[in-house]
């Protein structure tokens, strides 16, 4: 890949990284959204879950509208009706983040069926956590995509916990890929903190998916840096050492180091990219703050479409 490409990606990394410092936390998992969405075109549709900011940005959403939505402003993606957990941008094929664990999966099967019927070689991708693999909805989605050979990329972001419950306690399969394998769904488990690895794995997946050979499953092993959601009250029962250890495996830092090491990126370039992004985030933030709140009676609109 050309330097340019890499830089784009680095940029995306930082987008994701920076933004989430001060809102809901996708921090620690950025490499996944970035590495996957890099392969998607506007016509490819994605479905996200409750930790969805990263997916929005990686799919090309407007940070201004995102920030405005998170601030509950009228200029937000959902006019302030959805908030952080329910950001969507149908114009770029981002079919929405969602607050019900596992619920994005059946919806994504529909998006994949649409892609199959459209016969244009487009695909759908669904992002979900290890916790979602505990819900029956997960299995119904695996089964349906398998029997209908739907072009759906399953992206399991295994950050090893559902709130404070360990995935290796709550999932008998331990190795999550055992489950899609039972349905003859191709896939693999990879290091979700290594953006290059994610990018490469997604590339292989795309080849299959776009040929219409059926679904593909990627388990991306990663870790969330913050608490389940940003909150003083909520307790984090995860071992401190574990958290620290993972912070050392920062997907951004390691990748930047690698690029600099390979001489693809210089420290100053990295710094300036960082500057640029900080500026954009700042701009989005300003936009959100400057935007008006919806009127109370706006609540009556959009219950139904015309």
């Amino acid at each position: 890949l050309t330097i340019r490409r890499f830089e784009e990606r680095v940029a995306k990394e930082f987008y994701v990284g920076n933004l989430f410092g001060f809102v809901h936390s996708y921090i620690g998992q950025e490499a996944i959204a970035a590495g996957i969405c890099k392969h998607l075109v506007r016509e490819d549709r994605i479905v996200s879950h409750h930790r969805g900011h990263g997916h929005c940005i990686a799919k090309g959403a407007d940070m201004k509208k995102m920030m405005a939505e998170i601030y509950g402003k009228k200029t937000g993606y959902c006019k302030g009706k959805g908030g952080s957990m329910h950001i969507a941008d149908f114009s770029i094929g981002m079919l929405g983040a969602d607050g019900i664990v596992g619920a994005g999966l059946p919806i994504a099967t529909g998006a994949a069926l649409a892609a199959q019927l459209e016969k244009k070689g487009n695909i759908a991708a669904v992002f979900f956590g290890d916790g979602a693999c505990q819900e029956g909805e997960f299995h119904e989605a695996l089964n349906l995509t398998a029997i209908w050979k739907l072009p759906l990329l399953f992206v399991c972001e295994n950050n090893q916990y559902g709130v404070n419950t360990r995935a290796d306690y709550a999932l008998a399969a331990k190795d999550i890929t055992r489950m899609p394998q039972a349905y003859y769904i191709a896939g693999k488990a990879i290091d979700g903190n290594d953006v290059a690895a994610v990018y490469k794995a997604a590339e292989e997946a795309m080849a299959m998916l776009r040929k219409g050979e059926g679904p593909y499953f990627l388990e991306c092993r990663t870790y969330r840096w913050h608490k389940h959601f940003l909150s003083k009250a909520l307790e984090d029962l995860r071992p401190k050492e574990e958290i620290e250890a993972w912070k050392k495996k920062c997907p951004l830092g390691s990748f930047e180091a690698k690029l600099i090491g390979q001489g693809i990126l210089t420290r100053s370039e990295a710094a300036s990219i960082n500057e640029k992004i900080l500026a954009q985030v700042d701009e989005a933030h300003k936009f959100a703050l400057a935007s008006p709140y919806p009127l109370p009676q706006d609540a009556l609109e959009n219950v139904y479409s015309l």
């Binding site: 149908f90 969602d98 994949a112 029956g136 349906l144």
Partner: protein, 322 residues
């Protein structure tokens, strides 16, 4: 005019709309042979037995610009799919600020009377009415079924159609020419002066039979079928009650928090209608018990012509029985 069954009427509507629009899909756990022959196995799909999945798939299809008919068969199977139905289908238009349209028609049968016992005899439409975001239709005749389906299949919102098991085979006049019935417009099935009877689904027919019998006693019933529960035609009901001064809501579903409760409440809470009430409004509903299997018990718990007549006589200040 030609007569066809209620079931055929719904099928016709689907066929006509699917012909006009190639971006349409049908999902159900059983094979819809006629549809598959005409529209192919790509668009007419047999799903695994996984209702929650295909109710959700319809949402994903809608978000991708497709219109879907998802047939769940019995409303009891709908409970398996209520996450997708209530947390998503009902809210997704609103949560996302109206960015996208979700044209979906969900179908389920309701109703008791066939010894199907508690699980398979439930009529849960009031539960769906309590969750904003879904439109709800409840056709009682072949004519209404076709016209409401045609409208539902042009709707850009999730519509849930509840169809009473006893009506599927019932024949009725259905014109050859294309027609659409608007949502939120009740159907005045019979005009009358003494009592307004708002009846739902199969109960519309029982109410009409009761009206014939009562006419002989000189009591005239006005029988109104809302046809769509969401939106509900408040005006027609209120105007009728202002005329008759008496209201009876008849619904086979369980009484507590049912559609009949809503109808009574909206009339009682309307100052104009309240002022015109000559007697306490009444409900003739299914008893608040699960539907029993054995016929003598089943018959006892669901409303019928006789119970409607008794309620009318009571509200007219007469003894329930002749």
């Amino acid at each position: 005019m030609r007569e066809i069954t209620y079931e055929q009427a719904t099928l016709e509507a689907i066929q006509e709309e699917f012909r006009g629009n190639p971006r349409t899909v049908h999902l159900s756990t059983d094979l819809m042979a006629e549809l598959q022959q005409e529209f192919g196995a790509d668009r007419i799909r047999v799903t695994p037995i996984a209702e929650n999945n295909f109710v959700g798939a319809a949402i994903g299809l809608a978000g991708s610009g497709f219109r879907t008919v998802a047939n769940l068969r019995m409303a009891t199977f709908g409970f398996v799919a209520l996450d997708q139905m209530m947390n998503h289908a009902a809210k997704i238009t609103y949560m996302f600020g109206g960015q996208a349209k979700f044209p979906i028609l969900y179908r389920m049968t309701v109703g008791a009377g066939i010894s199907a016992a508690a699980e398979h005899s439930i009529s849960p439409y009031a539960m769906y009415m309590n969750v904003p975001g879904l439109k709800i239709i409840l056709p009682a005749t072949a004519y209404d079924a076709k016209g409401l389906f045609k409208t539902a299949l042009r709707e850009n919102n999730p519509v849930v159609s509840f169809e009473h098991v006893a009506l599927g085979g019932m024949k009725g006049e259905v014109p050859e020419h294309e027609y659409f019935l608007p949502f939120g417009r009740a159907s005045l099935k019979r005009e009358g002066d003494d009592v307004t009877v708002v009846a739902l689904a199969k109960m519309v027919h029982d109410a009409l039979e009761a009206a014939v019998d009562l006419e002989k006693e000189g009591i005239s019933l006005e029988v109104i079928d809302p046809r769509t529960l969401v939106p509900l035609d408040r005006e027609t009901i209120l105007e009728s009650v202002k005329k008759t001064g008496r209201l009876i809501a008849v619904d086979e579903a369980c009484q507590t928090c049912g559609a009949a409760a809503e109808i009574i409440a909206l009339v009682a809470a309307d100052r104009g209608a309240f002022g015109k009430l000559k007697a306490a409004p009444a409900r003739v509903c299914g008893l608040d018990v699960p539907i029993p299997f054995s016929p003598p018990m089943e018959k006892y718990v669901i409303p019928d012509k006789a119970k409607i007549i008794a309620a009318v006589r009571r509200i007219m200040g007469l003894s329930p029985r002749l």
